[in-house]
Amino acid sequence: MQIGRPPEDRSRISFLAKEGNLPDSDRPGGPRDDEALLEECRAGNLSAFEHLYEMHGARMKSIAANLLGNLADAEDAVQDCFLKVYRGAASFRGASRLSTWIYRVLVNSCYDMLRKRRRYPLEARSEGETLASGREAVTPASDHPLRLSLEACVKDLEPRRRAAFLLFEVEGFTHREVGDILGVPEGTSKTLLFEARRELQRRLWKRGVVPRVGA
């Protein structure tokens, strides 16, 4: 199950990916540590990537959807991220955990897409954005009445503050992880989050959703 091998091997990769016929030892959730996974990624082992996808795919999609503003672009960003992880695995030195590195690649992919396409302000939609197939994002079971207003305000945040807010408050990363993902010290992550929340409170006040607070 090697990637980037001659064509005769690729048919097998497609078959394995399509049918999910992976050995039990390669099944997602198996006892794999970062080191072993990284080695498998470097070797181009498709099951390692499937394992990463099973572990992080949903969270990656959510982050990308919130950063990019629509679901189809989010899926493209996740795909792009996996390709970059494959290409970059050989040069990854393990300065951070494999998982945080992957999210860092993802966030950078999203920024690249925003820069390249320059259409976020026009196409950014929150809920109800459908894919070509008509599928839609579902609202979590624990919906909150502030959600729509908050979502609209988050979209207008400065990109680094928005990323810090989404990673910490929405996706539940620690400040250390957020720092690793954004390539900033842990303290800067805290500052970015604080600034994001202050800005959000100000914007929510402007919309008349929450009581006014000062600068």
Partner: protein
């Protein structure tokens, strides 16, 4: 106490997160700052609802195909097989064909006694028939009536929202009403657009749910 009387929260915000955390002591004796701190915390409570979840049954197979097509490490990578790329050649061909036809019509207007292009009529066979459309509009009107009934019941609560939560419901309903009005305008331009009608239905459903939640909140 209003914001003009107590500036502790404002000052704490200006000083930083530790100062805000230290406000807990002050809020024991200041109701205004207590309310502001509660809202500050409510942003964190609302944040997880921004998480997006949706099914992507073919995403990993797309990734697997892209990985399988990727060259070995260090080589130049090919372009990603993006979902949009498939229709571009077909669209380009279609555009070329249409432009050619327009060109022929414009530059050879009298050759075969054809009508000018401005007089050509494009066949517009709607996806929905008139009868189906009438049924949809009738069902929509009934549904709208029931939501309006619910809105009338909720109106007194919305006119003077006593809590931040009710104010948030009000904001959400205003946003929904604005989106509904916009979509209805678009539908008026093409009454047969099923996609817009589905969007409109989803908005009505969301409004209904919000009104029901609001009434529950107002009762509790």
């Amino acid at each position: 106490m209003n914001s003009g009387e107590c500036r502790q929260f404002d000052k704490a915000l200006a000083r930083g997160q530790e100062a805000v955390a230290a406000l807990e002591i002050h809020t024991a004796s200041c109701g205004d700052c207590r309310e502001r701190l509660r809202v500050w915390k409510e942003i964190s409570q609302a944040a997880p609802a921004l998480k997006k979840e949706w099914e992507s049954p073919d995403l990993f197979s797309r990734i697997a195909r892209a990985l399988a097509a990727a060259p070995p490490h260090g080589a130049q990578a090919p372009a990603l097989p993006r979902r949009r790329a498939t229709w571009i050649p077909a669209a380009a061909a279609a555009a070329l064909f249409v432009l050619s036809m327009i060109g022929l019509s414009v530059f050879k207007p009298g050759e075969s006694g054809r009508e000018p292009i401005s007089n050509l009529r494009v066949s517009r066979e709607p996806l929905m028939t008139e009868q189906t459309l009438n049924e949809v509009e009738s069902a929509e009107a009934k549904y709208l009536q029931s939501i309006e009934k619910l809105s009338r019941v909720a109106r007194p609560r919305l006119e003077s929202p006593g809590t931040a939560l009710l104010a948030a419901y009000k904001e959400k309903l205003e946003l929904l009403d604005s989106a509904i009005a916009e979509t209805r305008d678009q539908i008026q331009q093409n009454r047969f657009n099923t996609h817009l009608r589905r969007e409109l239905l989803a908005m009505y459903q969301e409004k209904q749910r919000t009104l029901q939640d609001l009434m529950k909140e107002a009762k509790s």
